[in-house]
Amino acid sequence: MKVLLVEDEKTLAYEVEAFLKKAFYICDLAHTARQGLEKIECNLYDFILLDLGLPDKDGLVLLEQAKKHNPDAAYIILTARGNIEDRIKGLDLGADDYLPKPFSLLELQSRMQAISRRKSGMNSQLIPLGEFNVDIQKRIVSHQENEIELTRKEFDLLSYMLLHKNRVLTRLQLSEHIWGSFVDDDYDSNYIDVHIKNIRKKLGAYGPVEWLETVRGVGYKIKKS
């Protein structure tokens, strides 16, 4: 997967790049709209991540131009502007998603994955997880022939952890993924724990769930080779 990140804030760009590389993406950087356009003209990307507040050009204008050269790429707008008009305009211009800054890198990856799934069509693929199989597309968890019923939020949690397997996810990161901007300051509240407990209970009835680990004081992680 090839990604172009157009972001004028260099420090931020390097962090995103480091993260994406670790997630096995090939990442190109551009710090101005001009640089970005040059790269878009001679390369084909799967993802183009666009900052709207570029020094030389409005990101939305760049989006329009980039679409001509790279119509198949998935476009994600990253911006600190965050007003609704920009969002609507961006999505109207053909952006696939919109992440307001500051965003979590995990969330970014999750959105990218969701877009890839959407773009790659319906050919669903089963991800093995211990004795279980997870179909992200159809949102099904199964144990041999048995489908296990999870609530929407439980499934979201499970698939998010699965996407970021072998990585500790804090309660905050998990709740932000599920409840978005409506999360409060009181993360210590245990509603994530309640959901995790339910997942363990539901899946535990069919088979061992020791792959779902609790990291004391931090959060949870799915351990998977």
Binding site: L12, I84, P102, V168, F182, D184, D185, S189
Partner: protein
């Protein structure tokens, strides 16, 4: 009392005082005038008598008699000539009493001595003073009537004139103070008046409003810019920590510390985001084009938030009896408004407490009440709950702070009124009153 009434009253009273003073002094004035007039008259008569004596001799009066006396039929005037000792010299006018045929009467008397061949004579000419002052009373009454009616006429003129004069002041108060809604409209028309004081007041008020607007504008601009500028470093920090956490060599302890840092950072993010949201609402950057069914909206909010009710074991009751659609609103903002209120109701509730949401439609006003059985807000803090960064019950975790500020901004933006009543340890009721 109104200024015009006061002015008119003052002017009228002072006029009345002058009139009363005039009426009271009228007899003295009349006395002085008539005395002067009578004295002149007496002197003229003395001149006439002396003329006659000089031309025709004293005998023409005395006619053989030693003295002469004559009075009019009603004794209001008399004249007397009598010989006196030679060395007496008199020329006075005074008021004195004389007895004429048994009647004692008060006269204004001119006494004058003059010499002739026949000897020195005293001429006395008298005029009854009663005839002089007898017109005082009717004069007084007449003057009173005339002056009072004059006062009445001027009173009406004064009323109209002061009303006309003061009118711009009323307009200034109405247009520039009472009818003003914050933020003030720009480039307001000055009130038309030829009174320079009012023009000055008007322009001062407009200047003041402009200054307030400017200060407010600056604050809004600052909030928007600062929030925006803060987002980038927060982004960098968050992403750096996230990347750091993924390093396999990071120990559990550091992992834990890093997650705490993320948490703190997220709090910072929330604050900045809230400030940004408030400034955007205040800058009217949200479209108000939705038609929102409040009942359905609260259903959506509850769907989002109900998991927290279960967690806190809070009994929840929603009692809606009306279908109310709020036009020209922003659905997302209203969602946020109710979300924040209900979220507070949950957060500040007691374990196994309850929340009641009900609506009411009376006198054309639709309201929604959110009632909790929480810790309540002390009475002295009630006026501040919607203020930015003010926090009820500081010992509690979290804050009413920005959550309620956002509620307030959204409410203002939609011209929704908010009301809050609370009792410590019993609970709080927020009322959302739709326009």
């Amino acid at each position: 009392m109104k200024l015009s009434t006061k002015l008119t009253l003052f002017v009228t009273l002072s006029k009345l005082a002058i009139v009363v003073f005039f009426i009271l002094t009228l007899p003295y004035l009349v006395d002085i005038i008539s005395a002067t007039y009578t004295d002149n008259l007496l002197r003229q008569k003395r001149g006439k008598v002396l003329d006659v004596v000089a031309r025709e001799g004293i005998e023409s009066y005395l006619d053989g008699q030693p003295s002469y006396g004559s009075y009019t039929l009603l004794k209001d005037e008399y004249i007397a000539l009598a010989p006196v000792e030679t060395d007496l010299q008199l020329d006075t006018i005074e008021t004195d009493e004389r007895v004429l045929e048994g009647d004692t009467l008060s006269y204004r008397l001119l006494s004058h001595t003059f010499k002739t061949r026949e000897g020195t004579f005293l001429l006395e000419i008298g005029r009854e003073t009663a005839t002089i002052s007898q017109y005082n009373r009717p004069l007084q009454r007449f003057a009173l009537i005339v002056l009072l009616s004059l006062i009445f006429v001027t009173l009406i003129i004064d009323l109209f004139f002061t009303h006309y004069l003061i009118k711009p002041l009323g307009e200034i108060i109405k247009e520039k103070l009472v009818n003003q809604q914050f933020p003030f409209a720009k480039n307001q028309a000055p009130i038309k008046t030829s009174t320079s004081d009012f023009r000055y007041l008007d322009s001062s008020l407009m200047l003041l409003m402009e200054q307030i607007n400017e200060a407010f504008e600056k604050e809004r601009e600052f909030t928007a810019n600062a929030s925006h500028e803060l987002m980038t470093p927060i982004s960098i920090l968050q992403n750096k920590i996230e990347n750091l956490m993924e390093h396999t060599e990071v120990s559990d302890l550091i992992q834990q510390r890093l997650s705490e840092m993320l948490r703190t950072l997220s709090r910072l993010k929330k604050i900045v985001n809230s400030l940004l949201l408030i400034s955007r609402i205040e800058n009217e950057q949200f479209a108000k084009a939705d038609n929102v069914n409040i009942r359905a909206l609260l259903g959506e909010v509850m769907e989002e938030i109900s998991h927290r009710l279960e967690e806190q074991e809070i009994a929840f009751e929603m009692n809606f009896r009306h279908q109310f659609s709020f036009n020209n609103a922003n659905h997302d903002l209203l969602f946020q408004l109710f979300y924040n209120l209900i979220n507070n109701a949950i957060r500040y509730n007691k374990k196994s407490g309850s929340i009641l949401i009900k609506d009411d439609y009376s006198k054309g006003v639709y309201s929604v009440y959110i009632k909790d059985t929480g810790i309540g807000i002390p009475e002295e803090e009630l006026p501040f709950v919607f203020n930015r960064f003010k926090k009820a019950n500081l010992s509690q975790a979290g804050g009413y702070g920005l959550g309620l500020s956002i509620v307030k901004s959204i409410a203002n933006y939609h011209r929704i009124k908010l009301d809050v009543t609370s009792k410590v340890n019993e609970g709080t009721t927020f009322s959302v009153i739709f326009p």
